[in-house]
């Protein structure tokens, strides 16, 4: 479990996130959502230690990350895997070398064992055939999957995904979401996903934190989001009329109002 307590971060005198507190639970897909510039990426970078928060505390399973020294952080970071928005694969290495890199750096496994482990994770992300290809030779969706494979190769306890669906078609997005959800459940890890993809929110959002102008505006699950009366959240999530209608339908459905086809016909009219 990751706890964020009263985090504050600003740049050049401008506050980007202010007094944000949240809990990200183990074995769940925890989503940070919000429009561009709402501070969700800064929040995630503070959690993983790429930015130092100005105030507040970050706890990884009750261990304070903010007060750790360099060596303690190094140790902690070996338990963290991260998928970056642009995948951040090493251009000069093949897919296999990219995934093997953390094993080369932090383990004393033999080449044979490392290769076996790499095959295992590449198989998990369904990329066994692309192991000899370079990042420039594979598609965006494949790059994301390689990024996931590299993030999980050391069996992390915490997985962070920064906009895993950006630049992907809806079908590939769903595949990536499903993969992240499966990994979260299989390894029982704490997964934090930064997204503004509504499919992800509805499909895998076990726990959702909504950021608005640097503040935590709402917290709940994908079931609760449908019934939320928070106007800012509703106007962000259900921005299109299609999604608005879908929400109305789901609400009516939940209230048991749609039980006959004629009611559906009425609604459709």
């Amino acid at each position: 479990m990751i706890e964020v307590k009263n985090i504050k971060k600003g740049f050049n005198g401008r506050t980007v996130i202010d007094d944000v507190s949240a809990t990200f639970e183990t074995g769940k897909c925890n989503l940070i959502i919000g429009s561009s510039g709402s501070g969700k990426t800064v929040l995630m970078k503070c959690i993983v230690g790429l930015f130092e928060p100005d105030e507040g505390q970050i706890l990884y399973d009750d261990q304070s990350f903010t007060t750790m020294n360099q060596n303690e952080r190094k140790q902690m970071r070996q338990k963290i895997g991260m998928l970056f928005q642009g995948s951040a694969l090493f251009d000069s290495m093949t897919v296999e070398q990219n995934v093997m890199f953390p094993l080369d750096m932090f383990t004393r496994l033999s080449y044979k064992d490392k290769k076996k482990k790499v095959r295992e994770v590449l198989d998990k992300v369904d990329l066994k055939e692309a192991d000899k290809k370079f990042p420039a030779e594979i598609s965006g969706g494949m790059k994301k999957r390689v990024g996931i494979a590299r993030a999980i190769v050391l069996n992390p306890k915490y997985l962070f995904c920064d906009e895993p669906n950006s630049g992907l078609d809806p079908q590939t997005s769903l595949l990536i979401d499903k993969l992240i959800q499966d990994i979260t459940l299989e390894y029982n890890i704490t997964t934090v996903i930064n997204t503004h993809d509504m499919n992800s929110v509805m499909e895998i959002g076990n726990k959702i934190v909504y950021m608005y102008q640097g503040l935590k505006e709402w917290e709940g699950s994908n079931d609760e989001i449908i019934f939320s009366k928070n106007e800012k959240l509703n106007s962000f999530i259900f921005a299109s009329s299609f999604l608005k209608d879908a929400k109305d339908m789901r609400m009516l459905e939940a209230k048991g109002k749609i039980d006959e086809n004629r009611d559906m016909d009425k609604l459709l009219k």
Partner: protein, 245 residues
């Protein structure tokens, strides 16, 4: 940012760079890779420039020494000393600041912009140590070697040009080379080479590592790295000459 901020950040980068490697084998592999990139990658251009500089200095020295009382061996002496003292270390380093410096700055800049450095940080790797230290050590190892090669090729170029243009025979040139040779000049050239190696690798690494923005900023930082390195090389050249000669 003012000059002192840059100096402070540069010194902090150097301090942070000096830490115990996470995995010696991986650092060694990276060091060997950088030695090959910097050394082998620059050998061709260094060889071409050195031969021509030696050749041109022989021809121009002969053109200026018109007095019949000055022996022709003086041309070889002048070519040897100018090549060893100035052309081989300084000119080679300025060329390398362009070739190697821009490569280091753009490589690190691209890694920064595409979040590859962040990815390494998240893994728990000291990126300053893993990405910058092998580049600086590799430069300190191979650039002095390139300077020595440049000096040899420069003198050989002068000998070749002298004989080819009929200014002085190869035998006369060889006699001149042996006249009044001061081994200290070679030590001085190597001192310059080591100083310039650090400038050529350290300054572009600093600019590349701290890039913020996109492709445009990578280009800008690369140019700035080369310009700053060249200025620093010339400044260090003057200071070393004033102190050591």
């Amino acid at each position: 940012m003012n000059l002192f901020t840059h100096i402070g950040r540069f010194l902090l980068m150097i301090k942070r760079m000096l830490s115990i490697p996470e995995n010696w084998k991986m650092y060694w592999k990276e060091l060997m890779h950088q030695c090959s990139e910097i050394g082998i990658g620059s050998l061709g251009i260094v060889a071409i420039i050195s031969v021509f500089i030696g050749a041109v200095s022989a021809v121009q020295t002969a053109y200026q020494l018109v007095s019949p009382v000055i022996p022709k061996t003086t041309i070889a002496v002048i070519v040897r000393d100018t090549v060893i003292l100035e052309f081989a270390p300084t000119l080679t380093s300025i060329v390398l600041a362009g070739v190697v410096g821009s490569k280091i700055a753009s490589e690190l800049g691209n890694m920064r912009v595409s979040e590859q450095i962040d990815a390494l940080e998240i893994m728990g790797i000291n990126t300053k140590a893993y990405l910058i230290l092998p580049k600086i050590i590799a430069a300190l190892l191979v650039i002095p070697m390139l300077v020595v090669i440049a000096a040899v090729l420069g003198i050989w170029g002068g000998r070749l040009a002298g004989a080819a243009s009929g200014i002085l025979s190869a035998e006369t040139f060889d006699r001149g080379l042996a006249m009044g040779f001061m081994p200290y000049n070679v030590s001085f050239a190597l001192a310059k080479a080591y100083t310039f190696s650090f400038i050529i690798s350290g300054i572009p690494a600093y600019y590349g590592y701290n890039v913020q923005g996109g492709a445009l900023e990578i280009g800008r930082s690369s140019t700035q790295a080369v310009v700053t390195s060249c200025i620093m090389i010339l400044l260090a050249d003057y200071l070393l000459a004033a102190i050591l000669l």
